[in-house]
């Protein structure tokens, strides 16, 4: 069959790309081969628009064991322990089928972790939805949340953090980013690079069905009105099968029979086999008759492009097949020897004794296109005047308005659907600045957080990129952990548009600057482009997942105020930046202006000073100041600690609104017992950290300079109200 132009286009391959393919292969393709190219050359697998810029991210330091390029990143957390982590997006599938889309997103990221030999110990997620009044939002939100819970809970892995945000730019393109973290030994890390000729290639896990055929290309295409037609490609997750796969893989990994291992994720068998072989500079030959199939009469095309979940590809040392098979049968999983490694540097597929595909591996991987797309710089917003007359507003009313908005409401409705305490090592559950889990059997812990600030990035991608890395750093510091490294998920619109590409390029610039300065490398990540429908693009949304180490769990910190009559200090300078603040956005509905600037020196200096205070046992509680400013941060500390506060606003050249709601960066609130004040003052001064003492803790109520007086009970109800009324509970 001659491949028509229409078929090529349907596979998301441009005319010039097809020409290039013909040159690389030296002949026309058959349909199966075209399918394979379309999977490997699409944005999702090839990173053709982003590669150039991803290379500029700082990815190394003395803690990094494995940076980007493997299934997940790995960092050294001492005592021969290694932490494996990554973030992954499942945006498009979740919009089409929220429960299954989100569930399989969690399943996918977990496989990335345990393929590397690590037992997953924690999950996090960042989810963005459209306007709550948009007709689709309610079902999407509840479906996504129960899907995330459904998978993670069944696997028995605690979900200990995340974020939920709403904004109309996500109306038709929600974001579902899932992060997983696993623990292994430094000398027990497994990689995907094949090694050695004539070694058996093994398929394990669930059977292959017609799930998600063309899922990977779907994830790289803009939605049009025809979403409905794309429906049958949805994959259904089976967390039970994955739990068995996890246990079977970890059991097999106890000895040294695995040469390399790779999960079948996007583009299933195609990308896993191509990646393993080409990384090892080998060839691979597969007999498709050996693929365990779920449905009758599956074609080679379907087998190679299926995205059925809960499957893995292994290359074993030859001779180890029988022992390995025993393990997988014990767990009731399929195990099939489907081929072998070769020295041909070709991917060869046989079916019913006929060679159905034969492609040079380099043409699928290293010779895939890389684009230097045109991009436009975001011009700094012109000098904009702040809205007038807001100073007559009532502070309490403004506070209530912010706390009862969907973006600032407490998210317990969400996180209570996630098992956060299974595995018996959760030190800090969702609701704090970072989640904390104990390293099993030891007295050290891992702090984890996930953050994004899309409206900052929209207003200024460079500042926004910097800011979100700094916020991650701050959230890790606030629980007393030393930040180690990050993973990132870059969610953007259509990169073929100069403006969108500009957002991408500049956001990466901002991320790079902050990561370099803070020595906070990027060890893994994911890019999701084409989050765009009918020309409406999402806000540029880089999601940053950070990990930190707490060497001694006796010094972990949280944000709950602890005792009455202690001092409340603001660390870092408050200059009252209100543009892009929750106050301007939620209360005044004013969305112009640039986000708060980020001073990396202060960020690092303030953060390290806080860590120093925590390590000397000088503070009772710590919370970073982020959206909503000082007042919202303080309210959160009061509610979680069930202790009030009496605050006097320092006499300075800024007004009350700027002081209470400004979103200047690099700041924390800390609670210090009077007996420690002298020592704290001394240490902060020694390190030239700016701080202000603004008041004292007290019983039961919040009192801001007599302009805002509220009972804690009612504040608690207000911050909890939004989800309950949205779902009429």
């Amino acid at each position: 069959m001659k491949i028509s132009e229409k078929i090529i286009e349907k596979h998301g391959i441009t005319k010039s790309e097809y020409k290039r393919i013909i040159t690389l292969v030296g002949r026309e393709l058959n349909l199966l081969e075209l399918g394979i190219f379309s999977a490997m050359w699409n944005e999702h697998c090839s990173y053709k628009s982003s590669k150039k810029y991803l290379k500029t991210l700082p990815t190394k330091n003395n803690k990094v064991i494995q940076g980007p390029g493997e299934n997940a990143g790995v960092v050294d957390i001492e005592d021969n322990d290694a932490l494996v982590f990554k973030i992954e997006s499942h945006n498009h599938p979740s919009f089409i089928e929220p429960y299954q889309g989100a569930a399989t997103g969690v399943g996918g990221i977990l496989r990335d972790i345990f393929t590397m030999g690590a037992r997953p110990i924690a999950l996090l997620n960042s989810i963005h939805f459209g306007d709550p009044n948009h007709p689709k939002t309610k079902n999407l939100l509840s479906g996504v949340v129960s899907g995330i819970g459904g998978y993670g809970n069944c696997m028995g892995i605690p979900t200990i953090g995340g974020e939920v945000k709403f904004n109309s730019s996500y109306n038709e393109n929600i974001l579902v980013n899932a992060m997983a973290v696993g623990l292994t030994k430094k000398n027990k890390i497994f990689y995907s690079k094949a090694n050695g000729v004539n070694q058996p290639v093994i398929y394990v896990g669930s059977k292959t069905g017609r799930d998600g055929i063309h899922g990977a290309s779907m994830a790289s295409a803009e939605f049009d009105d025809n979403v409905d037609n794309k429906k049958p490609t949805v994959q259904v997750g089976d967390p039970f099968a994955e739990k068995l796969l996890l246990e079977a893989c970890l059991e097999l990994m106890k000895d040294d029979s695995i040469i390399s291992i790779q999960d079948m994720g996007a583009a299933g068998l195609t990308s896993s086999s191509v990646e393993m072989a080409s990384k090892g500079n080998l060839g691979i030959e597969i007999n498709l008759d050996k693929i365990p199939c779920r449905e009758k009469k599956m074609t080679p095309y379907e087998m190679m492009l299926s995205e059925s979940q809960e499957r893995m590809l292994l290359i074993l040392k030859s001779g180890k097949e029988d022992d390995a098979k025993k393990i997988f049968s014990k767990w009731g999983l399929d195990f099939s020897i489907i081929g072998k490694t070769t020295n041909t540097n070709h991917l060869v597929l046989n079916f019913k004794n006929i060679e159905v595909a034969n492609l040079p591996l380099s043409s699928l991987s290293k010779d895939a296109p890389v684009y230097d797309r045109k991009w436009k710089k975001k011009l700094p917003s012109k000098k904009i005047d702040a809205p007038k007359n807001f100073q007559t507003k009532d502070i309490s009313e403004c506070l209530v308005k912010i706390l009862s908005s969907p973006n600032n409401a407490e998210k317990s409705w969400v996180w209570e659907q996630y098992d956060s305490t299974v595995m018996g090592d959760t030190i800090q559950k969702p609701g704090g600045d970072s989640g904390v889990v104990r390293v099993h059997g030891k007295n050290k812990g891992i702090a984890l957080t996930i953050d994004s600030s899309a409206h900052y990035c929209l207003a200024d991608p460079i500042i926004g990129g910097k800011q979100v890395v700094c916020e991650t750093w701050r959230n890790l510091v606030a629980v007393g952990s030393k930040p180690i490294a990050i993973t990132n998920c870059l969610n953007f619109g259509n990169p073929e548009k100069e403006e969108i590409m500009g957002q991408f390029v500049e956001t990466i610039d901002g991320i790079s600057q902050a990561c370099s300065y803070l020595d906070f490398p990027v060890v893994s990540g994911n890019v999701s482009f084409y989050n765009e429908t009918k020309k409406n693009s999402i806000y540029p949304t880089p999601t940053i997942g950070g990990v930190g180490l707490i060497k001694n769990l006796n010094y972990t910190m949280n944000k709950n105020l602890k005792e009455i009559d202690s001092n409340i200090l603001i660390i870092g300078k408050t200059s009252g930046h209100l543009f892009q603040s929750e106050f301007f956005r939620e209360v005044l509905n004013f969305k112009e202006g640039s986000p708060p600037a980020v001073n990396l020196f202060n960020e690092k200096n303030n953060g390290l000073s806080i860590l120093n205070l925590i390590s000397k046992n000088l503070v009772n509680s710590v919370h970073d100041i982020s959206s909503g400013g000082i007042l919202v941060a303080l309210v959160e500390m009061c509610i979680s600690g069930k202790i009030g506060a009496k605050v006097k606003i320092p006499k300075r050249d800024i007004n009350h609104f700027e002081f209470l709601f400004g979103e200047d960066q690099s700041r924390y609130i800390i609670e210090v017992n009077e007996k420690n004040m002298k020592e704290v003052d001394k240490l902060l001064k020694e390190n030239s950290v700016y701080y202000e003492k603004i008041g004292k803790t007290q019983k039961d109520s919040l009192d801001i300079d007599n302009i805002c007086k509220m009972k804690l009970n009612s504040l608690g109800e207000i911050i909890n109200k939004w989800f309950k009324s949205y779902y009429k509970e």
Binding site: I96, E97, Y99, Q100, S206, G209, R210, D211, K231, P232, V234, Q235, V236, G237, D238, F240, A241, R294, E295, S308, Q309, G332
Partner: protein, 79 residues
């Protein structure tokens, strides 16, 4: 009027529950069982005598709430 609605997974959609039930029945010795698919069932009392209206309502609630039309089919029967 009583209506009953059965909801089944579309043909090529994975049915993890059916799979496990099938395997369990085999383990229990039922060799002749070839395949199990699990679905949902609803029994609804409708205060509506007009058959046409009842039909319209039933179809609407299947489309709008009961069925996940991305992966499921439904069928309605009236008693």
């Amino acid at each position: 009027m009583k209506i009953s609605i059965t909801i089944t997974l579309k043909d090529d959609v994975l049915d993890p529950q059916g799979k496990v039930v099938n395997q369990t029945l085999k383990n229990m010795g039922y060799r002749s069982i070839e395949n199990v698919r699990q679905g949902k069932y609803f029994e609804i009392n409708l205060n509506e005598k007009d058959e046409k209206k009842a039909k319209k309502i039933s179809e609407e609630i299947c489309e709008k709430l009961l069925t996940n039309t991305v992966i499921e089919n439904y069928s309605i029967s009236y008693k």
